[in-house]
Amino acid sequence: MAPRLANPHEWSRIAFNLSKVALVVHIFQRYIGGISPTAGMSMVPTIPVHYHKRPYILYSSLHRRGRGVKVGDVITYKSPVVASSQGCKRIVGMPGDFVSVVTPGRRDEDIEAVDVDGRWASLGQQVVQVPEGHCWVAGDNLEWSRDSRLFGPVPLGLVTGKVLAVMLPLSDAKWLGGELDVKDVQEKEHEWVIKR
């Protein structure tokens, strides 16, 4: 071993410097933003799902606690039902807004089931008003998403950031946000999206 590393003071100096780096990275990610991998199929086709390569998103933590987010934005939030897990969904309603009632998506036991009568993610004839201090979230893949249809409105205090863009895979890289994704109504019918 090099004589420098035999010195216990040298080890404590390295540990101290490493912890400084970890602290800076932690503060930056929590309060400013960063890049993070995601998992799951609830945001397909916006955020793809892949067996080998995990997609990466760019997020801004300046929007944490719901600061400056609006309808159409994709957010990350601490799950209100599963402690220590995070979700990533699209905002459909902010406090005071109205949202259509849509039936929840499939559950694990419905994986093989055939949808005959629009059981999952079908539009209801009622609306709910989002309570103050909350937002209503829904995954872009309504048939395979656990969101506000299941656990109700999410407190804005649980919002950890706003997703600005999908970065990887490059074929799906794009900017996200309400100003891009909430559009004027188009006359022609929307096409199906095919993902490989």
Binding site: M41, V44, P45, V49, K70, V71, G72, R90, V92, G93, M94, P95, G96, D97, F98, V99, S100, V101, W120, A121, L123, G124, Q125, Q126, V127, V128, Q129, V130, P131, E132, H134, A138, G139, D140, N141, L142, E143, W144, G152, P153, P155, D181, V182, K183, D184, V185, Q186, H190, E191, W192, V193, I194, K195, R196
Partner: protein, 98 residues
């Protein structure tokens, strides 16, 4: 936990838009049909497994278009079901008045 959420039927939506979440009246009142109509496209995706061997399955996503009325003051009202209901109502009243 969030407070319990009351459900509103489509005919109750227009008057309810002018009630703030705290129960007070919205001033000035908003007329829903005057707000800009926008859309937000979400999907219902499922795996489609090819019949021919060796082909990778593909994910087919059926569009689910949400219609939103965006009003002055930032209020957003989802009218996916309401637009059709309203058009039917107006068609119905026109027919009866003829």
């Amino acid at each position: 936990m969030p407070p319990p959420l009351p459900l509103y039927t489509l005919d109750a939506l227009e008057p309810q838009v002018n009630v703030l979440p705290n129960g007070k009246a919205r001033k000035p009142a908003i007329k829903l049909s005057d707000c800009t109509l926008k859309e937000l496209v979400q999907y219902k995706c499922n795996l489609s497994i090819s019949e021919t061997k060796g082909q990778a399955p593909i994910i087919l996503c059926e569009p689910f278009v949400r219609l939103l009325r965006q009003c002055e003051g930032g209020l957003s009202v989802e009218t996916t079901a309401w637009e059709g209901w309203k058009a039917q109502q107006e068609g119905g009243t026109r027919n009866t008045s003829q």
